[in-house]
């Protein structure tokens, strides 16, 4: 029992500790691919430390919601990330939210962030909030279709159960799973404001979505939001790893070696995810905002197709 709690605690701290590193790694890899030296991968930690130590500048007409939102956003994403199995299945608190609830928790974080964008009453905050909500509107049905695909296969929406199912059963190559994987990658790119949907490195305000929304934030509030964004990226890569590449994950009640293997495998998956993301981002151009509906519409269609294939092939 104590071990279970320790695993859950380790998971919470692990995701929190690794998230900035993942972000730094993606930035460094991207820079290398573009022929630049790029920053040290630990640069995000330095940024966070610097931001936390600074005095916060808050607009005169900001309300309490503006100041509370970063903590709510961070907490909601952290809780969601802590419930996605990373190196071991069967987390102690996994029963407190299944995959649908985890997706909805990210929705709660987005809701508060969009409200914070509107709080100061500037046009940039509005444009960011309105576009962020558009992306969410398109991404959420696609995400739910992916959840449906997995839930239909594994007979559960519980992430631990799905991961255990994927490890234990001879799932094999399934068309539905392939479609769901492609759809999930597309949703993950959109949700994390990566190229081609949004550009995390841009400084041209009119082309930004996420960055425009948080334009007014500074110091510790900005640190919380940045950390939340890093956690969200980690969450999606962990999710893809846990659902579609569950190799090496330690099972409930296995020995220390299994956990060590699980941890190593998880780090390997993160590295692979970071590399793939950097490669993808350097090889594609950002699209116009109003091309995003087509991009995410394709994800929805893939997800729907995956579900329909499963519905049709069930118990024939």
């Amino acid at each position: 029992m104590m071990l279970d709690f320790a695993i859950q605690g380790a998971q919470m701290l692990l995701v929190l500790g690794l998230a900035p590193l993942l972000l730094g790694l993606v930035r460094t890899l991207k820079a290398r691919m573009l022929g630049r030296r790029g920053p040290n991968p630990i640069q995000p930690y330095r940024d966070l430390r610097r931001l936390i130590a600074k005095e916060a500048v808050v607009a005169e007409n900001a309300s309490w919601l503006y100041r509370a939102a970063p903590y709510v956003v961070f907490a909601a994403i952290w809780v969601a990330a802590a419930l996605v199995p990373t190196f071991a299945t069967g987390l102690v608190f996994s029963w407190s939210a299944d995959l649908i609830a985890i997706v909805a928790l990210l929705g709660t974080a987005r809701f508060f962030l969009a409200l914070a964008g509107l709080d100061i009453g500037t046009a940039f905050g509005g444009i960011g909030a309105s576009r962020e909500m558009l992306i969410a509107i398109l991404a959420e049905p696609a995400m739910l279709m992916i959840v449906f695909t997995l839930a239909l296969l594994a007979g559960s929406t519980q992430l631990s159960s799905i991961a255990a199912f994927m490890i234990d059963q001879e799932v094999g190559l399934r068309v539905s799973l392939g479609l769901a994987l492609v759809a999930l990658v597309m949703v993950a790119i959109a949700e994390n404001a990566r190229i081609p949907v949004d550009n995390p490195a841009t400084h041209l305000e009119l082309t930004m979505v996420h960055e425009a929304m948080v334009l007014e934030y500074s110091a510790r509030h900005l640190a919380m939001i940045e950390l939340g964004a890093a956690l969200k990226l980690l969450l999606y890569i962990s999710l893809i790893g846990c659902l579609f590449a569950p190799f090496g994950m330690a099972r409930l009640g296995s020995g220390w070696e299994a956990y060590a293997i699980g941890l190593a495998a998880y780090l390997g998956k993160l590295l692979a995810g970071a590399f793939a993301l950097a490669l993808f981002e350097t090889s594609i151009a950002k699209m116009r905002v109003f091309r995003v509906p087509e991009f995410l519409g394709a994800a929805l269609m893939l997800g729907l197709l995956a579900v329909l294939l499963l519905f049709v092939t069930r118990s024939v």
């Binding site: 130590a53 309300s63 907490a75 929705g107 409200l115 558009l134 509107i137 305000e205 997800g303 049709v312």
Partner: protein, 682 residues
């Protein structure tokens, strides 16, 4: 003697008291303040009594209680000996649940009315009808024969119609009331036909008799009830009256019409389809699921485009009714395919959403009323920054907006989560039509849920956050204590049901047992109030833990950062990329926030067209953006019907100008035709 009374007696006495309050308000017209306190206070106490008694009946899980009153039509039911008259009343677990939920809404609206009623310009246009409206709704639920049911149904419609006309000098309100009256009469007409079909010429109209007698024409009855009750509940395409009429009434009445009256309509549907009609065909759920999905998507898309706060909420009601009907449709489908335990799950999801929607929509209409009272504005483009002026109302509005957006850890999420769980068990069904349509409806529901979040970010963000867009918004004052009390109660209940959903699920058990012979697992046995609708391996959700974790980790993060880092704050002008614009008009507006969604979905759903007029360089004329949207439902269904009725009326109008001989000839001809018909038929 009073102690011997059973809960059902208390309920009837409270309904009678509500009926009496109406005329009493008229006699007190010289003392409007006293009348207001008496009517709302009395209605609140009576509703609380009904609510408590119904809860007692529901939680005690006893048998249904019935009563016969010697008033009403002479022959409403068949007895062993022959026809008997009078009114049949009965309350079973299903009725007790709906009665508890509707009267809970009644209590909150009455408390709110105590304060909000002060702003009424013509209190006598509201006060006499308000308690009668509440009584009518309660009476629909306790009715056990078709006559009492339809009588109280009409009472509910007409009394609310009168309150829609409270501000009758506004032509838009008169139009709304007229459309409402037409749709209400149409719906009742269909229900009348449905009851006639169920009775089948046997003459008995009590529900016990209808239950035995039903058969034969059941599919037709389903269609009639779906249209009849669906028009009252606001199913697309019968929803047109709802965004007109609900906002026209005073806000606490809007809360009742949108939050509670639509639920009474859903009760009527459930009573007939799930209880009286008996075993359903396998395809019966399909039209419900499709119409429900359509309502959910169309309702919330319309809400997203709306500028008027109360109309926006009315459109959101259509979305929620759609969610409920999808749940009911799934339950009907599962019953028709002999899967009782899944039917129980889907039905529990629908009933849970009924309860949640009463709370959330009641709360949000009251918030809209508070905004209206504080600023005199309903247009979100003339609001803004109210979080500084109405801090408590803003906090409660945030709770309502989160709940209506179906986000954890609030209650709206739980019922939508349950609906998704019910969708996920459906691939085991055999018929192909169901296998293909149910997942598609699942995607539509997910879209509706995401659109709801965007809609309420827009509604809350533009009206409560940002900078004030009008002087009225800048000078707003926090509303009175009664209003805040009513909103606070509903807000607390929203949070409470979000954290402890198991209590509601357990309370539903006797209903599920009555209707399906199956129940969900007992929730009070699971650890830490976790909700496990099927089994722990399959799915579980714990609102309490989610809230605790978020609060703890957020609080911890804030604490650590304030300790180790900096906690200093400096107030400064907004950054806005170095070019802050002082005019509040440069903020995002209702139109601009909705623009991305309008571009993506509007061209299909509303044929939205945008036209930009750019003046030539050097020309000082302002640039203009014009957006036109078409209401397809009105144009393709109601427009032609309206035109046809007008044409027919013009033709028939000639009959008003005949001479006496022509009238006599007409009467004679009618008589001859009728006799001929009788001769042929008889």
């Amino acid at each position: 003697m009073l102690l011997d009374w059973m809960p059902f007696d208390w309920i009837l006495v409270a309904i009678l008291a509500l009926f009496a309050l109406g005329p009493l308000a008229v006699t007190l017209r010289r003392w409007p303040n006293f009348a207001r306190v008496l009517v709302y206070g009395g209605a609140g106490i009576a509703s609380a009594l009904i609510c408590l008694a119904a809860l007692l009946l529901l939680l005690r899980q006893g048998n249904a209680v019935a009563m016969w009153l010697p008033i009403g039509l002479p022959a409403t039911a068949l007895d062993g000996a022959g026809m008997i008259g009078g009114a049949h009343l009965r309350l079973d677990a299903l009725g007790a649940f709906f009665l508890a939920v509707t009267s809970l809404g009644g209590v909150a609206a009455s408390i709110y009315g105590l304060g909000y009623g002060r702003h009424e310009s013509a209190p006598l246009r509201v006060l006499p009808f308000y308690p009668v409206f509440l009584a009518g709704m309660s009476l629909v639920i306790v009715a056990d024969d078709a006559f009492v049911f339809l009588f109280s149904w009409e009472l509910m419609s007409l009394s609310s119609w009168a309150m829609v006309l409270a501000q009758h000098r506004d032509a838009a309100n008169r139009h709304a009331a007229f459309v409402y009256l037409c749709m209400a009469s149409f719906g009742t007409l269909l229900l009348l036909l449905a009851f006639g079909l169920m009775s089948g010429g046997s003459g008995g109209f009590d529900f016990a008799h209808l239950r035995e007698n039903s058969g034969g024409m059941n599919s037709l009855v389903l269609a009639l009830v779906l249209i009849g009750a669906g028009s009252k509940a606001g199913l697309v395409p019968l929803h047109v009256w709802l965004p007109l009429a609900h906002p026209a009434a005073p806000s606490h009445v809007s809360a009742l019409m949108s939050g509670v009256m639509t639920k009474v309509a859903i009760y009527g549907f459930i009573r007939v389809v799930f209880d009286i009609l008996g075993a359903p065909e396998w395809w019966w759920g399909l039209p419900l699921i499709i119409l429900g999905g359509l309502s959910a998507a169309f309702g919330i898309l319309s809400a997203m485009m709306e500028r008027d706060l109360k109309r926006l909420l009315a459109y959101s009601t259509i979305e929620n009714v759609g969610f409920i009907f999808v749940g009911l449709g799934l339950a009907l489908t599962f019953t028709g395919n002999e899967r009782a335990s899944w039917a129980a799950l889907a039905f529990a999801a629908a009933l849970f959403h009924v309860f949640n929607h009463v709370l959330m929509k009641g709360l949000m209409f009251m918030v809209a009323g508070a905004v209206l009272a504080a600023t005199g504005e309903r247009d979100i483009d003339r609001l803004g920054g109210l979080i500084h002026r109405l801090p408590q109302t803003a906090a409660l509005a945030l709770v309502g907006a989160l709940a209506l957006s179906a986000l954890p850890p609030l209650n709206g999420f739980v019922s939508e989560w349950l609906t998704f769980q019910a969708i996920l068990v459906s691939p085991e069904l055999d018929p192909w039509a169901l296998r293909l349509s149910i997942p598609a409806v699942g995607a539509v529901l997910a879209l509706a849920a995401a659109l709801a979040a965007a809609t309420f970010v827009r509604a809350f963000g533009l009206s409560f956050l940002g900078r004030p867009r009008s002087t009225a918004a800048a000078d707003a004052r926090e509303v009175d204590g009664f209003s805040r009390l009513a909103m606070g109660c509903l807000g607390l209940l929203c949070v409470f049901t979000g954290i402890f959903p198991g209590f509601v699920i357990d309370a539903l058990a006797p209903i599920l047992g009555d209707l399906f012979g199956a129940t969900l697992p007992r929730q009070d046995l699971s650890a830490w109030f976790t909700l496990t609708p099927i089994s722990a391996e399959r799915s579980s959700y714990n609102g309490l833990m989610t809230l605790l974790f978020i609060a703890l980790s957020g609080g911890l993060a804030a604490l650590i950062i304030h300790r180790l880092g900096s906690h200093r704050v400096r107030r400064a002008p907004a950054w806005d990329c170095g070019f802050p614009e002082p005019s509040p008009l440069t903020q995002y507006s209702a139109l601009s926030f909705a623009q991305p969604v309008r571009r993506v979905f509007g061209s299909i759903a509303f044929s939205a067209r945008e036209r930009v007029t750019m003046p030539a360089p050097g020309d000082l004329a302002p640039a203009r953006l014009e957006v036109s949207m078409t209401d397809h439902v009105w144009q393709s269904i109601y427009g032609p019907v309206e035109a046809a009725v007008n044409r027919a009326a013009d033709r028939i109008n000639l009959l008003q100008f005949l001479s006496i001989r022509q009238y006599l000839a007409l009467v004679f001809a009618a008589l001859v035709i009728l006799l001929t018909v009788l001769a042929i038929w008889g």
